[in-house]
Amino acid sequence: MKTQPATVFQTSMRFGLIGGGAAVLFSLVGMVEVFGQRTIIGGVVSMGQAFVAIAMLLSAYAAARQLSSVSSSAMLTAGGLTGVTVGALLAALVLLGTSINIRDVFVSASPPLFELLSFGQSPVPGMLLLLVAGMTMGLAAAALLFLSPAMRSTAISVLLAVGVVGLLADLLRIIISQWAYVAPLVEWVFSGKGLSVPGALAIAAVVIGLDVLANRRRNKAHNLAALPATALQKRMRTGALMALLLVLPLLLGTYVSEVLDQVGLYVLMGLGLNVVVGFAGLLDLGYVGFFAIGAYVMGMLTSPELGLASLSWWSALPIAVGVTVLAGMLLGVPVLNMRGDYLAIVTLGFGEIIRLLALSDALRPWTGGSQGIQLIAKPVVGTVVLDDQLKLYYLILAGCLLAGFISSRLRDSRLGRAWMAMREDEDVAQAIGINLVATKLLAFSVGAAFGGLSGAIFAAKLGAIYPNSFGLLISINVLALLIIGGMGSIRGVIVGALVLVGLPELLREFAEFRLLVYGALLVMMMLYRPQGLWPEEARKLEAHGDGDNSNGDQTAAIPA
């Protein structure tokens, strides 16, 4: 096919305008500037610049890939042109922002932003630099397409690894300083803020080395006609994972333990909602209600402040979970005949009602009203009071393991299949003999139990709870983490919680833009990966590995 300049131009413009538009948008909402304060490689790249570079790289890569069937020169041209377009849009923003005052409308269009965008130069050379940067990034992105797939994945891994390590530099530095043997490395790998240049190169070298090794192994495995993992291998893998989970907080220190605690509480909630939405297909937007009930019952029963009862955490736990399960059923009954949108709206209301009840003055003697409940008991194991992040981590881990275990057992059982059948087609499920009432109520109950457990631990962790800790945003977070990880996927819940709860905790700057990022992320997931980041495999070979697939006589015709 002959290169058509018009196609090249059009493609470049389209992707350039999308990428540039995104870059301008992120600049104007303040993300670029906020991230500018985070250094990836000291004195070389800041996160803000990386952001702009990513916009250039991604749009140029997409444009070049679209033309990959045309010709290599078309790809390079498109890459460069797309990059320049992104640069040009940002340059236009710099021009606009430095010549007239747009801060009345765009609060974040501040001098530091423009300084950052123009690489610390005055506007005109800065704008030229933007164009040059765009061209370079665009060509580089197009060049990536000429690499072999293996090399391309190595290149991308290197960029990602350097980016992630650089971003988390502050944190990693603290962590690594705790390890006696490698502590001296810290000064060499990191500089002031972010990585040092030799540090970045070292990481690149390590990633390349690992990648080559992995490739070689993969090739070998390929030749041996990749056997599925044996039971022993599986058990060893599980054992290793468990050991890692046990020592993780010890290695990583207090701050990361705190983050892991939060991730764990969300994993627990995610596993619960996964039963309701992921398995049974009942869209519940008020899941925070169960979390709140678990926390409040725990508070009421253990806080001496209210004078209702002062049970120990452990004796209150079954009651807290039991009450939550009851609430799950109570919610379940009125919504038995509702589907889709109606169910979503009613459950949304349920979540709000619980919060408003907790807030109400009428219930103040029991819930403490807007003052909440203080002095909630901490769990005690033997003689150890679980009162810090690290000790609670193990409690939360135990909870997550239990919930994960129950989820996976149920998924592969008669009940799990009934849930999934109901999710797929409620009418047919009923016509096959499934009692919808019992099956739905069980889903709500199991989901509620996990949420209640999470709430009970949450109450103990903070020692005090307030109605405002139980807002709609929690329900949305939990649902979003399911979508990100993969609906119905147990391991996806963990990935989703790490991405949605863990990352923003580690990258505090994100917190401000949380909803924006959520929105963008969810839209992208729907478009490009609707099955989630880590969906359950079709459970081929895994669930029923006993040979239905091996000796099949596929030619059997219908006996006539």
Binding site: R409, S413, R414, Q430, I558
Partner: protein, 272 residues
């Protein structure tokens, strides 16, 4: 001679439309009984009344002498009636094996606690269920396809998987709604033999909605013809083929272009 299913003046209305009008049917135990009629005649609506999807607005339906009109679909399934759907309704994102396992739901007993604890009884039950599911898959010639997501199976396989799922409920009466829809004549012929086997080998009474006349005439002991919700004829295949009202219902109306020289025999594939 016992009647497994008896419909007594069954009525089903949708607003002003009488989809089923005073329908009387008696279906012999272990027979193959076909219901035919032009599109929109009310055949599927009648199936939906029998299986509890709809509650009839009048009349009664007796299954083995017991009234089932107005019972819920799961209760009716437990009594021993299973069905397939005109437009295949499998559990799309579940594997073929899982679809059949779901079909066994009412014959399994594992509850919440047993499933979590994996008790010995529960493991044995589960293993037996899987074995039974594989046996059923083999019966419908889907051996080796148990691990495919049902939505990824070819059309003919999906039709047979739907039958396997229905068989898993161990029905006494099986309702098949256009099982050969969309099949070529050769596949339809295979399906015909297969349906006959269901009755002969498994002793299941078959109530069949079908448009392929070769299939209908080839396997039915009795045939009822519906038109505008009313039964306009009933009899054995030979009687139906020569019934003037039936021919009129199929050919006389609107289809002026139809070739009237064929009057006297219903076209091999009627109205679609």
């Amino acid at each position: 001679m016992s009647k497994i299913l008896v419909a007594q003046t069954v009525v089903k209305r949708f607003g002003g439309l009488m989809a089923v009008k005073d329908l009387e049917l008696e279906i012999e135990d272990k027979s193959i009984f076909s219901v035919i009629g032009p599109n929109g005649a009310g055949k599927t609506t009648f199936f939906n009344c029998v299986t509890g999807f709809y509650k009839p607005d009048g009349g009664d339906i007796l299954f083995q002498g017991q009234s089932i009109a107005g019972k819920s679909p799961d209760q009716i399934t437990k009594l021993g009636i299973a069905r397939t759907y005109q437009n295949i309704r499998l559990f799309a994102n579940m594997t073929a094996l899982e679809n059949v396992l779901v079909g066994q739901h009412i014959h399994l007993s594992a509850g919440l606690v047993g499933s979590i604890l994996h008790t010995k009884a529960m493991r044995a039950e589960e293993a037996a269920a899987v074995a039974e599911a594989k046996r059923l898959l083999q019966f419908v010639a889907l051996t080796g396809k148990g691990d495919f997501l049902s939505k990824n199976l070819p059309y003919g396989d999906q039709r047979r998987l739907e039958i396997a799922r229905a068989l898993a409920t161990k029905p006494k009466l099986l309702l098949l709604d256009e099982p050969t829809a969309g099949m070529n004549p050769r596949e339809a012929e295979d399906m015909k033999g297969f349906i006959r086997r269901l009755r002969d080998e498994l002793q299941i009474t078959i109530l069949l909605i079908e448009h392929h006349m070769r299939v209908v005439m080839g396997i039915s002991e009795r045939i009822a013809v519906l038109d505008y919700g009313e039964k306009i004829a009933e009899g054995n295949p030979a009687e139906i083929q020569n019934n003037p009202r039936v021919i009129e219902a199929y050919l006389g109306r609107g289809g002026a272009a139809e070739d009237h020289r064929t009057a006297g025999s219903i076209p091999a594939t009627a109205a679609s």
